[in-house]
Every structure is written in C-alpha cells, then in structure tokens.
Symmetry: C2
Subunit: 141 residues, 2 copies
DNA sequence: ATTTCTGCAAAAGGTTTGCAAAGCG
DNA sequence: CGCTTTGCAAACCTTTTGCAGAAAT
C-alpha cells in the first residue's frame, strides 16, 4: 500500500491497519481474479489470525473509497480489482472461467450518443464477451 | 405458455406442469425485471401453495432448455428474461436500478475480430452501461 | 404404472452483524 | 485516551437438496 493509497483512505476517514494494507496488496497482486474467499486464503498465509469478516469489511471500505471495483463475471462469485487501471473489459471462458482483459473497442462518441438517445448520463461501461477459450475449445469433442 | 414453449420443454424431456406454465408466464410478464423471490411472490398470488424451491428448480429447467436467460445487473440479485427477444443490452441507473434495453451497437465483425485476436470463440456479448437516468439526475443536488 | 415433479423442511454457501478485546491516531 | 477496527461466533439471506406424496405421461 503506497502513500497515495493511504491518503485516499485517510481522506475517507478510515484508519490504516495492517489488515487493510495486506488485503489491498492481495487484491492488487490478484489482478482482478480473486473472490473474497480467495483473498482471505492468500492473505491469511501472511497473517494467520486474519478473519474472513475483516476481508469482507475491508472490501466494503475499499469499495466505498473508490479504490477497488467489484466485478460480476459469469454466474459465480464477485471478483475485485484495483480501480486505477485503464478501462478494459473481459473475455470469459464459459467452461474454465478464465478471464482475459482487453481494451475498450468503442469510442467515446458511440457511448455518448447512446446516453443521449436514452437520456442517461453514462458513468461506466461493462462489456463481457462470453465464449470458449482455446484450450477448452480443443477439448470439446 | 404457448405451443412452441411446450414443444421446447418436451424436447428437453421435461414435463408440462401448471407451476412451470405459471412461472414462465410470470417471467414473461416481468419483462426481465424480476428476481427469484419476486417471481415467487407474484406467481403465488395465482397458486398459493407454490413453493420457492419450485421457482428455483423451474428457473433452472428453463435455463437449461435455453428458454430464459439470467442477468446480473448491478450488484444485486439475478434477474430473468425470456430468450426469444432480439439481442439487446442494458442501460442501468446506478441510483434507482431502472433498466432500459437497447440494441447492439456493434457489428459482428468487431466481435469476431476480438475473438480472433485472443483466440476465443465468442458465444455471447454482455454490455451494460451504468449511469444516471433522467429522473435520478434531476434529483442529484 | 412409471417416472418426474412438487411442497416442505432442513442444509448449504456466501455475506453480514454483535460484542468484547485490541489497536490506530 | 477515545473511537475505530478486529476476531470470533452466531445470524442472515439466497439458493440447493432430501424425501415422501402428488401429478404427468
């Protein structure tokens, strides 16, 4: 957890604790592919007394502070990723769940026009492409 | 539930029951905006002995038969909609949760190219635009 | 008649909460 | 030191499952 992270937390009136630093680092290292329980398991290796409820509470704190984002990939659990990455979207394998990120394929104009047409002020774009990855495709018989 | 619905269910080796007909009609009437519990509450008005587990089991049957689709809008519960509609996506208000449908803004080619680049065989495209609807925007102070 | 389906109740899985003790500022 | 945060256990909520009786084919 770097200084800028700490500033944001402070700014939100939250305290800096070892658990929060650890959890944020774990989410960062996980690159958007971890759910709450996996964050818990990984972080616990470094802090064995960590509790799962602290993970959930910290996730909420970080979400409220706008530092992480919750993803709903496929049907499964929620995953979390840092919010400072450039905007990107996800290719998700419907068999093995593998996630590949790619950058936005459409221009601002298109999104803006859509917003105009329906009188929405659009703040974010979530695009998921579902399909079969190369490995799972080769195993399809 | 019309004849074509019945044929599909039969084709999947499933029986036609009053509960299934009722639940499918309820989902149809709900236009994609109902979660399992809301389907249950509405259907129960017409069949008071209906159980929530039957709703869940029927949702699974209809999903397997490809008759409905599960949506993951925002952070909340799953919602369900009929699958026979033309492909469309969703504008979702992050304040009131209102959902507006719109048609696909990109062409096949773009999706196909993305699949090629990452070696995915893409089967479906989920695009959600999150933002503020007109009403909620006017209430922002 | 056979097999699937339903309702009920209990279980399961993920997430949240109450509380006393520990820790940050 | 005051107030927030933590760990633990219990509660909660949505979804799933086991089972015996009811219904579909």
């Amino acid at each position: 957890m770097n200084e800028s992270d700490k500033k944001i937390l402070h700014g939100a009136g939250k305290r800096i604790t070892p658990q929060r630093m650890l959890i944020l680092e774990t989410i960062r290292a996980g690159q958007g592919h971890l759910d709450a329980d996996e964050i818990y398991r990984r972080a616990k290796k470094r802090a064995p007394r960590l509790s799962l409820s602290t993970v959930y509470r910290t996730i909420n704190v970080l979400k409220e502070a706008g530092m992480i984002e919750e993803l709903h990939l496929g049907e499964e659990h929620h995953h979390y990723e840092l919010k400072d990455k450039t905007e990107h979207h996800h290719l998700i394998c419907q068999v093995c769940g593998k996630v590949v990120e790619f950058e936005s394929p459409f221009n601002e104009q298109l999104v803006h026009d859509l917003g105009q047409r329906y009188d929405f002020e659009i703040t974010s774009v979530h695009l998921d492409l579902i399909g079969y990855c190369a490995e799972c495709r080769s195993q399809k018989t």
